[in-house]
């Protein structure tokens, strides 16, 4: 090894030592740098929190709502006293017997909602009341208190989430005139046919009046009204679907033909 090579090697080692020392003795950040760094970390944290909230709202509430609704509707179906034969029941059009009013705003399921157009496995629990935390945010469809009971003359009105919390009414805009909306109570199936839909302001309570749109008028027909928010991901307006009772079937007589697999 020549003298020149030795010098070159020594210089390299020295340079590496200096670099290591400088790395080890990095100067402490100034006060200003620390403040800016802290603010930066806070902003990152806020961003992560907002992102997580969106994930929770759009995904997790759906997971939980669908599970709670599934449990509630299974409980309702298993709690029925009647054995329902798997045949098409005779359709009746005379006035049905009165349905017992739910006694309290307990959030207990008193009926199930079936919409054949949304799949034969679509069935959703209907509970009394439209409070957010005990009914709607628990994934259920809520019955407006003081509106008619299923099948009765008047306007059986329910509200449900269109997105998030199980989103029972996500596909509400696919319902067209003539489509079936079926309400199952402890005693009977009530098969309603869609008559019309409307997009209204949130303040228009007339849509759930006994005669929809005409408050104070004595009702002569059994109506059903669905309300949910519109447009999607907004609450600026309400999407309303009206339906009229077509026929009813006592549970012990069978099922609506629409809900049988081979129909």
């Amino acid at each position: 090894m020549s003298r020149l090579d030795e010098i070159a090697q020594e210089q390299q080692e020295e340079a590496a030592r200096v670099a290591r020392r400088q790395q080890a003795k990095r100067p402490r950040p100034t006060v200003g740098a620390r403040i800016v760094g802290g603010i930066g970390e806070l902003l990152i944290t806020a961003g992560l929190l907002l992102g997580l909230f969106v994930v929770w709202q759009l995904w997790w509430t759906d997971v939980e709502g669908a599970r709670e609704a599934g449990d509630a509707v299974s409980e309702f179906t298993e709690g029925l006293d009647v054995e329902i034969p798997e045949v098409a029941g005779e359709e009746r059009t005379e006035e049905p017997p009165p349905e017992p009013e739910p006694v309290e705003l307990s959030g207990d399921t008193f009926a199930a909602l079936w919409v054949p157009d949304w799949g034969l496995d679509y069935r959703w629990p209907i509970a009394e009341g439209v409070s957010r935390d005990s009914v709607l945010d628990a994934g259920m469809v809520g019955h407006y208190p003081d509106t008619a009971m299923p099948g009765q003359v008047g306007n059986f009105s329910v509200a449900g989430h269109r997105q998030t919390y199980g989103r029972p009414f996500f596909h509400i805009d696919t319902l067209a005139a003539g489509d079936s909306i079926i309400v199952q109570t402890h005693t009977a199936w009530y098969v309603y046919k869609v008559t019309e839909h409307a997009i209204v302001q949130p303040t228009e309570v007339d849509v759930i009046a006994p005669v929809p749109g005409e408050p104070g008028v004595e009702p002569g027909a059994a109506m059903l009204t669905l309300t949910t928010c519109h447009p999607l991901w907004s609450t600026a307006e309400r999407y309303i679907v009206h339906a009229e009772l077509d026929h009813w079937i006592p549970l012990e007589d069978g099922m609506p033909a629409e809900l049988l697999e081979d129909s």
């Binding site: 509430t61 945010d137 303040t203 309400r238």
Partner: protein
């Protein structure tokens, strides 16, 4: 803040990384189960009813 947490966590890098993951999971769980459900009703979306606005 994050650097300080990293310094406080004991053990070699692998252990620190594992502990950090557990911490993150715990924070997310607290947010999802308690904080977000408590905050959501004050958010200006998700009203489905007519009248009560």
């Amino acid at each position: 803040m994050y650097a300080a947490i990293w310094r406080i966590l004991p053990g070699p890098k692998a252990v620190k990384a594992l502990l950090s993951l557990i911490l993150v999971a715990a924070v997310v769980a607290v947010l999802f189960l308690w904080v977000f459900p408590a905050v959501a009703p004050y958010m200006p979306f998700n009203d489905q009813t007519v009248g009560a606005s």
